[in-house]
C-alpha cells in the first residue's frame, strides 16, 4: 500500500513538486497571515538549499543544485520574504557562458578543472559570522559571504593564506558568545583533516592538522567552550576501489567510530581520541562539558546517527548502509556519547530509536552548553527512491527524557526549523521554531511559526509565501540582537 501509488520512476523526484527550482529572485512584504506574527520576534530566518540555475546533461542529484538563500525577516509583527542565489564563482561562470558547465555528483567530475572538479554550489548550510551570512557546501570548499540586508553575495570569505584552497566543510560552527568561527576541512590526502578557529575579525587563531588513518567523510563537528569534537566514522571509501581511482562507499563495520576531543585552541599533540560503536552520522545536536563526579571532565555529545540497517535475520546489513546514503533513505536514531577525559572511556546510549528524525536544532546561544531541548525534523520513509520526506517536528526533553511529535498530515514538507528566541528571552525554550513548509495539496509554501515550548499545538502562525520555496537543507535564525552586534 502506498508503494503502489508511485511508480513514476521516469521522473526525478527531487526536481518536481516541492523540489522544483524557482527562477525568480524577489523581495515581498508578507500579508497573508493565519494567526498572528509574534511581536516579540525580531530577526531573520534564512535557509539554504539547492536550486539549479541551468539544466545540466546527466543525472541530477538533490545535492547538485546551486545554492539559494531564502530569508524571512521579522520585526514588530511584520514579515518580509526575500530569496537570492549565492553568486558563486561557478554560477558566475555559467551565467557568463549561458549554460551549465558542470554536471552533478552522479556524473564524472571535470578533469580540466583541478581547482573545481565538482561545482562548489555553496548550497548546504548558512550561518551568521563577522556581520555577514556565510554560506557553505557539504563537500567543502570556499565559504561565501552574503549581506544580511539584501542577501547579495559579497564574495568568498577572505581567509588567512595558510587556508588557501582548503575546503571548509559545510558544518562549521559559529560560537555566538565569542563570535569565533570554528571549522574543519577534510580531503583525500594526508593528514586528511584540518581544524581551525578564526576570531570574529577573521584572524586565524588556531589551525592544526588532524591526522586520520585515511580519507574519511566527516559531515559535522561539535563544540564546547573548551573543546572541539571531530569525527572519524567508519563509513568511507572502499579503499580498493579508491586505489583504482573510483569513489565507492563502504561501511567498515569492524572499525570503531573515532572522535577527536581537542582543546579549542589546542595543538595536535593535545588531541584525545575516543572510540565508540561503528556508525555514521550527519548532524550533531549539541555538545557540552560535565563534571564526572570524580574530578574529571566528561564531554557529552548528542546527535542523530543512522539506525544501522539489518537484514532479514536481524544482522547488520553492511552492504545496504552505503546505499541508504546514496538513495537518500532516511532512518535515524537520537543518541548520546560521553567522552570521559579522566578515564579515556566512551559511554554511549540511545536516547530514542522510535521516532525517525534528523536536522536537530537547539537554542543557538546554548551551543556548547548543556541543553535540555532538541527540536528535530520528523522524517518519513521513502515512497520511492530518492524521494526524501521531512514530515513534521519532534521535541526532545532530555531532562524528562521524553519525546513529543507533531505531524500535520501527509503531503506537507517541512524544513529545518531553527529556534528563534523571543526578544528578552529567559529560559532555554522561551521562543519559537521558524521554518518553511510546502503544502502539496494547496501547492503553496508557508512560513510556519511554532511555540517551541509546545509544538504539539501546531503552528501558532502560518504565513503564505509569494512563491514556492523549494525543499532545502539547513537554516539559521539570526536575532535582531545578533544582527546589531555583528556576531
Amino acid at each position: 500500500m502506498g508503494a503502489h501509488d508511485s511508480n513514476a520512476f521516469n521522473e526525478i523526484p527531487v526536481l518536481v513538486g516541492g523540489f522544483a527550482p524557482v527562477a525568480q529572485e524577489m523581495t515581498v512584504d508578507l500579508t497573508d497571515v493565519e494567526g498572528e506574527i509574534p511581536k516579540d520576534l525580531t530577526g531573520m530566518y534564512v535557509r539554504n538549499g539547492p536550486n539549479r540555475r541551468f539544466e545540466a546533461p546527466g543525472r541530477y542529484h538533490w545535492f547538485d543544485g546551486d545554492g539559494m538563500l531564502h530569508a524571512v525577516r521579522f520585526e514588530g509583527g511584520k514579515a518580509q520574504y526575500q530569496n537570492r542565489w549565492v553568486m558563486t564563482d561557478s554560477l558566475q561562470e555559467e551565467l557568463a557562458a549561458g549554460s551549465a558547465l558542470w554536471q552533478g555528483i552522479k556524473d564524472p567530475p571535470r578533469k580540466d578543472r583541478p581547482d573545481m572538479p565538482i561545482k562548489n554550489t555553496s548550497n548546504t548550510d548558512v550561518k551568521f559570522y563577522a556581520g555577514t551570512l556565510v554560506s557553505m557546501w557539504y563537500l567543502g570548499g570556499a565559504v561565501y559571504q552574503c549581506h544580511p540586508g539584501d542577501l547579495s553575495t559579497i564574495g568568498k570569505l577572505d581567509m588567512d593564506p595558510r587556508l588557501q584552497g582548503l575546503p571548509i566543510s559545510a558544518h562549521s560552527k559559529v560560537d555566538e558568545r565569542t563570535g569565533e568561527f570554528l571549522f574543519f576541512a577534510y580531503g583525500k590526502e594526508a593528514p586528511y583533516m584540518h581544524y581551525g578557529v578564526m576570531d570574529r575579525q577573521g584572524a586565524l587563531k588556531t589551525f592544526m592538522p588532524v591526522q586520520l588513518p585515511g580519507p574519511r567523510l566527516p559531515h559535522d563537528m561539535a563544540i564546547t567552550p573548551n573543546y572541539t569534537i571531530l569525527h572519524d566514522l567508519p563509513l568511507f571509501y572502499d579503499m580498493d576501489a579508491f586505489a583504482a581511482g573510483r569513489h565507492k562507499l563502504k561501511f567498515h563495520h569492524t572499525l570503531p567510530s573515532r572522535f577527536a576531543v581537542v582543546p579549542r585552541h589546542g595543538t595536535p599533540e593535545q588531541i584525545r581520541w575516543f572510540e565508540a560503536e561503528p556508525t555514521y552520522m550527519y548532524h550533531v545536536s549539541n555538545a557540552w562539558e560535565e563534571d564526572d563526579g570524580q574530578g574529571g571532565i566528561e564531554v557529552v555529545m548528542t546527535g542523530t546517527p543512522f539506525r544501522l540497517p539489518t537484514d532479514v535475520r536481524g544482522q547488520l546489513d553492511v552492504d545496504r548502509f552505503p546505499k541508504m546514503l546514496a538513495n537518500l533513505e532516511h532512518d535515524f536514531i537520537f543518541k548520546e556519547w560521553r567522552f570521559n577525559l579522566r578515564t579515556g572511556q566512551t559511554k554511549e546510549r540511545v536516547i530514542d530509536d522510535i521516532i525517525n528524525q534528523e536536522f536537530p536544532v537547539i537554542n543557538s546561544w546554548m551551543q556548547g552548553h548543556k541543553t535540555r531541548y532538541s527540536w528535530n525534523v520528523l522524517m518519513g520513509r521513502l515512497n520511492r527512491a530518492e524521494d526524501p520526506r521531512f514530515c513534521g517536528l519532534v521535541r526532545y526533553d532530555l531532562q524528562q527524557d521524553t519525546c513529543t511529535t507533531w505531524h500535520a498530515g501527509t503531503g506537507k514538507w517541512f524544513s529545518e526549523a531553527p529556534f528563534a528566541p523571543k526578544d528578552h528571552w529567559k529560559s532555554e525554550d522561551d521562543g519559537y521554531l521558524v521554518g518553511f513548509m510546502w503544502d502539496d495539496r494547496q501547492q503553496a509554501s508557508f512560513l510556519s511559526i511554532f511555540d517551541a515550548h509546545d509544538i504539539s499545538r501546531g503552528p501558532v502562525c502560518r504565513i503564505r509565501l509569494p512563491q514556492r520555496v523549494p525543499n532545502g537543507f539547513h537554516a539559521t535564525w539570526v536575532s535582531g540582537e545578533r544582527l546589531a552586534r555583528g556576531y
Partner: protein, 480 residues
Amino acid sequence: MRINDLPVHDIPALDGNNAPVLDESVFEDMQVIGEVPKDLNGLYVRNGPNAYYPPDWRYHAYDGDGMIHAVQFADGKVTYRNRFVQTQGLQEERAAGHALWKGLKEPMRADRPDQPLKNTANTDVKYHAGRLIAMWYRAGMPYALDPLTLETLGTADYGGAYAKISAHSRPDEHTGELMFFDYSLTAPYMAYGVIGPDGKLRTKMEIPLPGPRLPHDMAITEHYSILHDFPLWPDADALKAGRYKVHFHADQPSRFAVVPRHGSASDIRWFDAKPGYMLHVVNAWEEGSEIVMVGTPYRLHAMADGQPDARRLERTINQRQRDFLLYEWRFDLASGTTRERVIDDVLNSEFPVINSAYQGRRNRYSYNILFPQGGREEPRFPGLAKYDLTTGGYVAYSAGPQYFYNEPGFAPRDNSQAEDDGYLVMPVWNPVDQRSEIQVFDCKDARLAQGPVARVLMPRRIPHGFHATFVSQRTLDRWK
C-alpha cells in the same frame, strides 16, 4: 495442524515484565504522582497471557493462560484487581495439578480433537450486556466474567449460538449487540453473527470464501458489518506436509464483505481492493453511499520494479515484525467500487483505540501504540500517538524507548462534550524504576503530548499483555 495457526518464533516471553504473576489481588490506595481526575469513572480491563504452571515446554508469548487486569476509577479513587480466566483447560490442569497442554511450538494434543491447543481466552476482552467477554486469537469459545469481581461465570455460548468465535468480535454499546465472526479450515470458511442484548442469537450467516483465510478482525457501522478476506493464507502443500507457512498472493485483491448487520448471505456485497494484510481495524462508518473503514494494515514495500514485495511482507508477518501504516478504504454501495488511500505512513503504529461510543459512527481520532521503525527485535510498545484521521496529522508522546505502553482504553470524561474529551488509561512498564504504573493521559486537543496527568505506582508488576477495553460508568450502570 490447524489452519488458523499463526506463525510462531522464539522470543524470551517469560523474562522481565513478560514473566507471569501468580497472585490474584486487590490493590487500593496506591501512591499517585499527579492527580487521578475525579471525572474519570469506569472500568479499564486488559487481557493477556500469564502461564499458571511454569512452562516446561518451548514457551511462546501467546501460550499463557488468560489473566484479566482491571482498574476501577471512582471519583479519584483507583482499585486494581486481577484474576485468571478460569477456562476449561486451566480447570482441568488445576485438577491434575500440572499442565496438560503445551504451546504453539510443540505438537498439539491428538487426544483432544475438541481442544488440540488450550483455549486460553487470553487475547481480547470486551464488555457485552453486563458481562466481560474474554476471547482467544485463534478463535475459541469465549468466557464471561463478572466485571466487578472478575469471577469467571462460564463460557459465553449464548445458548449454543456458536462453537467458537474470533478474538476480535465487536460490541455496539448503543444497541447492546455483539457482532462476531468465526473462520475455519472447511467451507464455507467463515461465519458471521449477532448476539442481542438479551443474550439471544439474532443473526447468523455463512460468509463463503474461496478458501481458508486468516482474518483477524472485523468492522461494524450502524447498519453494516465488514468481514475481511485478505490474500494471505497458508501454503496448502506445506500444510499437507505438516508444516505451516503463510503465503501472500500479491496478484490477488483484498476482498471485503459488506453485509447488513441483520442481513442474510444473499445480502453480502463483495468489494475488491489492493492486496494487503491487516490485523486491526480502527473504526468504520457510513458516509452517504459509502462505507468507510480505517485500519492499520502492514506496509507493503515496493520492489525495484515498483511491484509489491510479497516475500518481504511474509517475512514481516512470520517474524512478528511491526511495520504498519494508517489506511482508509471506502466501499461505495451505489457503484460497487472501492476507493482507498494512505492516511499516514510516517509513523509505525498499531493497536488502535477509539472512543467506544463512536464505534460504527464517524469519528476523527485514533489512539495508537507507536513502534520503532522496523527491524527484527523483541516487541516494544514504546509510545502513544493521537491521530487525526481527517488529516493524518498526529501528536505523539514517549517517555523513552524502553517504556512499554499497553493498549489503552479511552475513558470519556463525565459529561464528555467532544469525541476527544476524555482520558487514555493503561498499564505502563517503567524501565527506570522497574515497576508497573497505571497512567492516565488527558486526550483533549494536543494534551496527550504533555505526558501523563496521573501515574499510579503499582505495588506489583502487571505483565505486558494484549488487548483492553474501557467501560464507562454510564455503560456499567446501564447493565446493573
